[in-house]
């Protein structure tokens, strides 16, 4: 799951170049990898690709602020 999310982030927000200094635990906000419109693109991606439905209450840093957090969230939702 982390690979799928990471691939999406690299292709869409890191100009296609994998950045080894960008870790799966790194905060998207803190590292400014994605901004508020980027978060929406990411949510569209996981809704389309993984068939989860994201509720307003769930749009928090706890669920969406790193590759690892997004992957864990999706895994919880589809479990």
């Amino acid at each position: 799951m982390q690979d799928s999310i990471r691939k999406f982030i690299i292709e869409n927000f890191l100009a296609g170049k994998d950045d080894p200094t960008f870790k799966n635990d790194d905060s998207f906000l803190d590292s400014r990898v994605i901004d508020s419109t980027g978060i929406l693109e990411l949510i569209d991606f996981i809704e389309d690709e993984h068939g989860v439905s994201v509720e307003d209450d769930e749009m928090t840093t706890e669920n969406f602020d790193s590759v690892a957090k997004v992957a864990a969230y999706v895994e919880r939702k589809i479990a």
Binding site: N12, F13, A15, G16, T21, F28, L29, D30, S31, R32, I34, D35, S36, T37, G38, I39, L40, D56, D57, M59, T60, T61, F64, D65
Partner: protein, 511 residues
Amino acid sequence: MEAVWSYLEEAHRRFPEREAVVFGDTRWTYATLYRRSLGLANQMSAMGVGAGDRVALLWENSAEYLRIYFAVQKLGAVLVGLNPVIDARYLDKVFGDCAPKLLVAQVKFARRFSADLNAATSPPAWLVDAEGLELPAGADCELIEDDELSELECPLPGYEDNSLILYTSGTTGQPKGVTLSQHNLIANTDSIAEYLELDETERVMVLLPFYYSYGHSLLLTHVAVGGCLVIDNRLAFPNNVLDTMERERVTGLPGVAATFTIFMTRSNLAERSIPSLRYFTTAGGALPPAGLKRLRGLLPTARPIIMYGQTEGTARLSYLPAAEVDVKPGSIGRGIPGVKLEVLDDEGRPTAPDVTGEIVASGENIMKGYWGDPEETSNVLDEQRRLWTGDLARIDRDGYIYVVGRKKDMIKSGAFRINPKEIEDLAAELAGVVQCAVIGVEDELLGEKMVACIIQEFEERLEIKEVKMHFRKLLPHWKQPQEILFMSDFPRTSSGKVRKHLLKESYLATI
């Protein structure tokens, strides 16, 4: 007030133990902010920074940002506030323009551009928050220290001396450095604090970046009254911000249309209660009437205040008080205290009521000019030092102003002024692109979204993904077009110039 620094000195004298700034787990009183600012000013001074020197700052909103800001002010140096998510190409232009003596930056941002900077124009000294940065040849670098001082001998700058430079997009695609004096900042700060009736009990929610004139005005107005800045940079997750607002009992919520749209569409604001909130302010483009109505329902204790401004006017030019929002719907109000706003025709005569003209502003807050660019300055400041804003408006019989459009080909997206030419020129660098025309189209979230219309050399050779990637490599996120369209040709004038209003009409007809 004598100088911008004096605001902090005065707040420290009157309210040493009141909270000045809250950011995550960091809480600084005015005494802490004051002593830490002096400690940093001492370090900068030892690095050779003195009165009039430019200090470029690439730092996210934080308590630390305030400390750096006031350290620079203490030395009478000139702060150049920049968007930290920025590319080397843009920075080369800015550094070439204003020649900063020192760059203060967070390594997490600086590592993205430091190796690519032009060493000839890059600042000779760097002050950073961590090790491990690849520096341009010849640059000296120090780590920012945590020293505190209780006093530092240093003469106050003169009232007309420069204090701040904020860069905006120019009509030529070159960034222009709006240069603001101590006098400009003090005039605007005092006026805003007066009409918003701010005092030391204020706790403002800071979501707007300090490198943006509206965000910067929050910093100075709240230090001026001894209030508290509650900073949260997580607007992408509005529920987290609402937690902060509840916990910190914020009293003011300044935003642009996009800020409020995010709260209304992506948070559980309807289930919350923030009774501490006294007001919200909106500027940087109108919030649609339906959105404003809904927001007022969601924030019942907060007075709505509509405002209008430009970086060239320090920040604020007009406001519409809460009591008049229903009386004059859609209006940006009238000039703030000390600012005269007029709507004039091309000959400089006031327009008749409800006839469109240009908004022209005068007052002590109007910038000194664009840094090192008398020609661009004379395009917007006339001999009476009036600012011709480029915004088209009408004025009603009671003197209330209604913005109807813009004179120049500029796009306002997410409250940023963006020159489409800059994006068009970059698109043309991509192999296979013959011409690109970027149009602004109304958008609920951004105010305007950017649509890049592209004519290809050979049809169907390029993919939209390639163009997107090209923009992502070269432009910060706020300058990236939201949509890319391939077209066979554009509507044109007889001389071949693209008729953008027709292009926009044909775009709107197809969606």
